[in-house]
């Protein structure tokens, strides 16, 4: 066992963890408002809008994230038109490509989660809101969105953890996040067990923190949905 090598490279892992957190939470922060809005469109009365969102979520849930990432990072770069466009300075950066791929992917999943939550709001709550004469905007802001989010919490928590683990794919496009650091050490020192175990331990720690936070959030805001103990 070569734990000394891991010790020497702990600063690299710290940098990697920072990048992992940046990628995961960056993608989640951008995707959250998008997914909340799209959840309403997904349940819209206008058929064309509803279908458009359904097709989007189907495509991005129906293809692997790694393929999406490669298409955006390597695939788009093949077209001269894109390379000469004003978008290229952005698209040439691996961080931007990774964020685009993750946002598109997690927004697709989150949209379906939220749309499901929206469909499960008891009709009575919505009718009560209407009876009070709330405007559409006030209905959404004060009744629908909070009710939808609290009902979606457990599933959305899962999705956040999936995004965290999915950041490991960023190492395939040169980013040195936690997995990238482990692969780098593998190639520099010819050991595999120690670097990957260390990476796994860091992911597990971050996940444990997330799960704990979710537990409290769930109790605080969604506790009223739990079955009453007699």
């Amino acid at each position: 066992m070569n734990w000394g090598i891991i010790g020497e490279n702990l600063p690299l892992y710290a940098e990697g963890a920072k990048l992992t957190l940046f990628l995961a939470f960056g993608a989640l922060l951008i995707s959250f408002p998008l997914a909340v809005s799209l959840a309403f469109v997904r349940n819209s009365k206008v058929r064309a809008l509803r279908y458009a969102v359904t097709i989007y979520t189907l495509v991005f849930r129906g293809t692997p994230l790694l393929v999406q990432l490669f298409l955006i990072y390597f695939g788009l770069a093949q077209f001269g038109l894109i390379r000469t466009s004003i978008l290229w300075p952005w698209l040439s950066s691996p961080i931007v490509c990774v964020l685009i791929a993750y946002v598109l992917n997690t927004t697709a999943y989150s949209t379906e989660i939220f749309a499901g939550g929206l469909r499960h709001i008891p009709v009575g709550e919505i009718e009560a809101a209407r009876a009070y004469g709330l405007s559409h905007w006030a209905q959404a802001r004060r009744i629908l969105i909070p009710a939808m989010l609290t009902r979606s919490l457990p599933l959305y928590g899962n999705e956040m953890i999936m995004v965290l683990q999915a950041t490991s794919l960023a190492s395939t496009v040169t980013l040195l996040e936690i997995t990238g650091v482990a692969r780098r050490i593998t190639l520099d020192y010819y050991i595999q067990f120690e670097p990957y175990v260390t990476a796994a331990a860091i992911y597990l720690t971050i996940t444990l923190v997330l799960v704990t936070i979710f537990h409290f959030v769930q109790r605080r805001w969604a506790g009223y949905l739990d079955p009453r103990s007699s």
Partner: protein, 253 residues
């Protein structure tokens, strides 16, 4: 009853003998992202100079070899752990690698070169390359060289031998450092290599120790018998002209 027991014993023994014969088959890994040395052709077959050479060595030394494609980042750890018996992947012999692996005799002395877009000019000094993006494969002599000698450049590292060239074509990288033969016969002669050219000095192990002593077959340090066998095979194909014929076939030299 007794006879039955005997039959069972014979069966058990023969299957034991069979399995030990099976273990004789050598697992030889190569990273097939490195034409013309090793790559996968359109029919899914492993092809290239190293592959042909290794097959010739195995034949000459009467070794039962199974050469297959493996991921670059798992090759060296796989050799240490015994998952692979040998690696043939245009591997440069360096001091650092010698500490961990055994090597066969050296079979070629590669030249390393930069490749860039035609017409682009560079000042090939560490200061002149400051800020330029150089793409290399991780954990290679090229990686070690730019890391140690051109730290002012922006270095992008990839897990495969072919990805740096993709990045050069797309314009994400200004320069790729690679084996001259790899660039000339694996990249420039293909469609994606149009509009690019070899640039800068010809680099060898004499210019920097990172470029090593030459290329050889890496073998598990404990397996001294295999080192001997491979060297024997290598001597045979060197003497009978097979090695030379392969060099001419692939590199025209």
């Amino acid at each position: 009853m007794n006879r039955h027991l005997k039959t069972i014993c014979i069966f058990a023994l023969s299957s034991l003998a069979l399995s030990s014969a099976h273990a004789e088959k050598l697992n030889i890994a190569t990273d097939a992202t490195f034409p013309p040395f090793e790559s996968i052709d359109s029919s899914g077959k492993l092809v290239g100079f190293d592959v042909d050479m290794m097959e010739a060595i195995c034949k000459a030394a009467a070794l039962d070899c199974n050469i297959f494609n493996a991921a670059w980042d798992g090759m060296f750890p796989g050799l240490v752990s015994g998952k692979y018996d040998a690696l043939v992947s245009q591997l440069t012999v360096t001091e650092k690698r010698r500490q961990t692996f055994a090597f066969s005799d050296i079979y070629d002395h590669p030249i390393f070169r930069f490749v860039a877009k035609k017409g682009a000019t560079f000042d090939f000094t560490p200061e002149g390359l400051a800020g330029k993006t150089i793409a290399v494969q991780t954990g290679t002599p090229m990686d070690a060289y730019v890391t140690n000698h051109i730290p002012q450049a922006q270095i992008k590292r990839y897990d495969s031998g072919s990805a740096p060239f993709l990045e050069l074509s797309s314009g994400r990288a200004d320069l790729v450092l690679g084996y001259q033969a790899q660039i000339a016969h694996g990249f420039l002669n293909g469609d994606s290599g149009m509009g690019f050219e070899l640039v800068g000095p010809q680099l060898t192990g004499k210019d920097a120790k990172e470029f090593g002593e030459g290329v050889a077959i890496a073998i598990n340090k404990k397996n001294t018998k295999l080192v001997e066998d491979v060297n024997k095979g290598l001597a045979v194909i060197r003497k009978d002209g097979t090695l030379n014929a392969l060099m001419v076939k692939y590199f025209g030299k």
